[in-house]
């Protein structure tokens, strides 16, 4: 025991490649399952619509260029609103967790809660009543609805960072900003990304309401189906809206996985 004080220890952790080989089948199933499901659903929808005798009213909605435009509008609304929320909520969350700005934390959280508590339809209506219909009003509405998840997750993500890490960072001579950028934020990334994913889902879902406020998006297709009593149109709108939500969630999940620092 005394005589061999300093042996270099044998590697303990299994090699990463070995680990990957072992679970390769399961991983593939996990990552390929959703795209496969969406492809099958899309194919079924196409066959259903193609098999119908469409009248002129239906044809006006159910054609490639029209549907592509609606999906495009929908994605644009979700993407722009989420980007703005990230740009605002992450810095706000960082500020709210700084020691010097703790006094603002309740106010910031209350603001986020407000957006979450008010029903989205009512909230967008309120915005529209204030600044009129259009893209801008809807974006503001979506922004307010999806603020809380990112704000809260940024705060929680930063608060759950082991304080000994921060202390070690500061003790080694990192400035508060260094410690935030090099230690705290990387360690909070998984939680923040989960918030981003939630916000994205909320925005994709809520964007169906845009049709009432001047941007058609996929809500328009559904609404047409209801208003004109055309089942194929209604089904197409509903399936596209749900499928898009699932697809966005899937892509966000992949991104979350890729952006999480290794080693966590």
């Amino acid at each position: 025991m005394v005589a061999d004080c300093f042996p270099s220890q044998a590697p303990k952790a299994p090699s990463p490649t070995g680990q990957r080989d072992w679970s390769a089948g399961r991983t593939a199933a996990r990552w390929l399952g959703m795209p496969l499901f969406l492809a099958l659903t899309g194919g079924a929808l196409y066959r259903y619509v193609a098999g119908q005798q469409l009248d002129t009213i239906e044809q006006r909605t159910l054609n490639a260029s029209e549907l592509t435009a609606r999906v495009g509008e929908h994605l644009q609304l979700a993407a722009v609103s989420t980007a703005i929320v990230i740009a605002v909520a992450v810095p706000l969350g960082i500020i709210a967790t700084r020691r010097s700005a703790r006094f603002m934390t309740p106010a910031i959280l209350a603001l986020g809660n407000l957006g979450q508590a008010i029903p989205s339809f009512g909230l967008i209506t309120l915005v529209v009543l204030t600044i009129g219909v259009g893209f801008k009003a809807i974006i503001i509405g979506l922004f307010a609805c999806s603020m809380l998840p990112i704000l809260r997750n940024t705060m929680v993500g930063l608060q759950q960072v082991d304080q000994t890490m921060v202390r070690a960072a500061r003790g080694m001579g990192m400035s508060p900003l260094d410690a935030l950028l090099r230690v705290e934020l990387p360690l909070a990334v998984p939680v923040i990304l989960a918030g981003v994913r939630t916000a994205l889902i909320i925005n994709v879902g809520t964007a169906t309401l845009a049709t009432f406020f001047g941007v058609k998006a996929l809500g328009y297709v559904i609404y047409q189906g209801i208003q004109l009593d055309r089942t194929p149109v209604l089904i197409t709108g509903a399936v596209l809206a749900s499928g898009l939500a699932l697809l966005v969630d899937y892509v966000a999940g992949v991104a979350e996985r890729l952006l999480t620092p290794r080693g966590l």
Binding site: M1, V2, A3, C5, F6, P7, S8, Q9, P11, K12, A13, D162, T164, M165, R167, A168, A169, R170, G171, M172, G173, M174, S175, D178, R182, V183, P186, L187, P261, R262, G263, L264
Partner: protein
């Protein structure tokens, strides 16, 4: 049996340097809303190149005291001098880059590879990539880890002991003259802890840093410290001296209580095997020698057993009976040679080896495993007695009267 007593200050450097590396002057920390200060007017000089252990009960303010040195905790009043310069008002971030820091729970960054963890301070100091890479490899080598195998690992892929080594390497990355270590071996199993302690002492012998080491474990303090500061409430220094002096003369009931019972046993931690004269009279033989030759050598000696060596390394103990008969196979005869200790092991280690392996002697081998001599229970007993200042005289006198009586 002849023995030498290790000089009491053998581990504290040859000449006392004139200027302390760290000087604390009436350092006080008063937290708002607390009736008493956490640290109350602590003054101490910390000499260059020594390991100073701050030891005391939980909550006595030892960590706070240490953290005021790199101003992770800002002192309420008092002054800190580093290498002669007053750093009480310096930029704390720049100051901390000059002071290595090992936090209690190691605090490796989980999202950074081993190499990136070690490179944190060099990067803050703006070293170029090549210099950083070279330094990382050098440090991994220093703490006994294979650079090629470990530099790209993440902390979660390391064992507790390995993480601890990386923690120490990280603190030494920019070669700071001073290192602060807050219970660095706290959360580790006893066997690994002992190994890491020995390893750190070996590294320290090479690098000669000024180390401030915080622990609540008296045994660790005695083992690691060139000097120990026993702290009481509010970080009041109850005693600041070498481990040998504190153990032989606590001078104070608080210190005595804190050291606890078994002080004599603890004293065995102070003397290393290399400091005592080894017994070298034991007959030895090489595996390549002939059986009758070996038997004759054993019978000519006044020992009952002979140590078989294989290329200088102890292999087996054999007695005269093992060597009778012409067909005895030297590779399997007798008993395996156990209780091997290296010169830097303490007498406590040696005693422990003897007791666990049920052997009357411990075999001393050098770093390459080559036989150097023996150490037996008598040697340890005499060392233990002679370390007690008062009793040394008593035993010498007793010995004199004994031999005088016989004459």
């Amino acid at each position: 049996m002849s023995t030498t007593t290790a000089p009491q200050t053998s581990r504290t450097g040859e000449t006392p340097p004139s200027e302390p590396m760290i000087r604390l002057e009436k350092l006080t920390k008063q937290y708002p809303g607390q009736p008493a200060p956490a640290v109350d007017r602590v003054s101490m000089d910390i000499p260059r190149g020594e390991i100073i252990v701050l030891v005391g009960p939980s909550g006595c303010g030892k960590t706070t005291t240490m953290e005021m040195i790199n101003r992770l905790t800002e002192p309420t009043s008092g002054r800190i001098f580093l290498d002669g310069a007053d750093v009480t008002r310096d930029n704390p971030d720049a100051l901390r880059r000059r002071i290595g820091y090992v936090i209690q729970q190691i605090g490796l960054f989980p999202h950074l590879k081993v190499s990136e963890n070690i490179a944190v301070v060099p990067k803050l100091l703006g070293w170029n990539r090549r210099r950083i890479n070279d330094r990382v490899d050098e440090l991994l080598d220093l703490v006994g880890m294979d650079a090629a195998a470990y530099r790209d690992r993440y902390p979660k892929e390391l064992s507790g002991g390995q993480r601890q080594r990386i923690g120490v390497a990280r603190a030494m990355a920019a070669d700071p003259p001073v290192m602060l270590m807050d219970e660095p071996f706290g959360a580790i199993d006893p066997i690994t802890r002992e190994r890491l302690q020995n390893e750190f002492l070996r590294v320290q012998q090479q690098v000669q840093k000024t180390v401030v080491f915080v622990t609540h474990d008296v045994d660790e303090a005695i083992k690691m410290g060139d000097r120990i500061a026993v702290l009481g409430q509010h970080s009041r220094i109850a005693r600041y001296d070498t481990p040998a002096n504190i153990l032989s003369d606590p001078a104070d009931s608080y210190v005595e209580n804190f050291i606890g019972s078994g002080a004599s046993l603890k004293r065995l931690n102070l003397t290393r095997v290399r400091d005592v004269v080894l017994e070298t009279g034991c007959p030895t033989a090489y595996l390549t020698e002939s059986l009758p030759q070996i038997r004759r050598r054993l019978l000519e000696s006044d020992w009952t057993a002979l140590l078989l060596l294989d290329q200088g390394r102890p292999r087996r103990w054999v007695t005269a009976r093992d060597l009778t008969g012409s067909d005895a196979d030297l590779a399997t005869v007798g008993l395996p040679a156990v209780a091997l200790v290296e010169p830097q092991a303490t007498l406590a280690d040696a005693l422990n080896e003897m007791l666990t392996s049920n052997a009357g002697v411990a075999v001393v081998v050098d770093g390459r495993g080559v036989y150097r001599g023996m150490i037996d229970l008598d040697t340890i007993m005499i060392e233990a007695r002679s370390m007690r200042r008062g009793t040394t005289e008593f035993y010498r006198a007793a010995k004199r009267s004994l031999t005088g009586g016989e004459a």
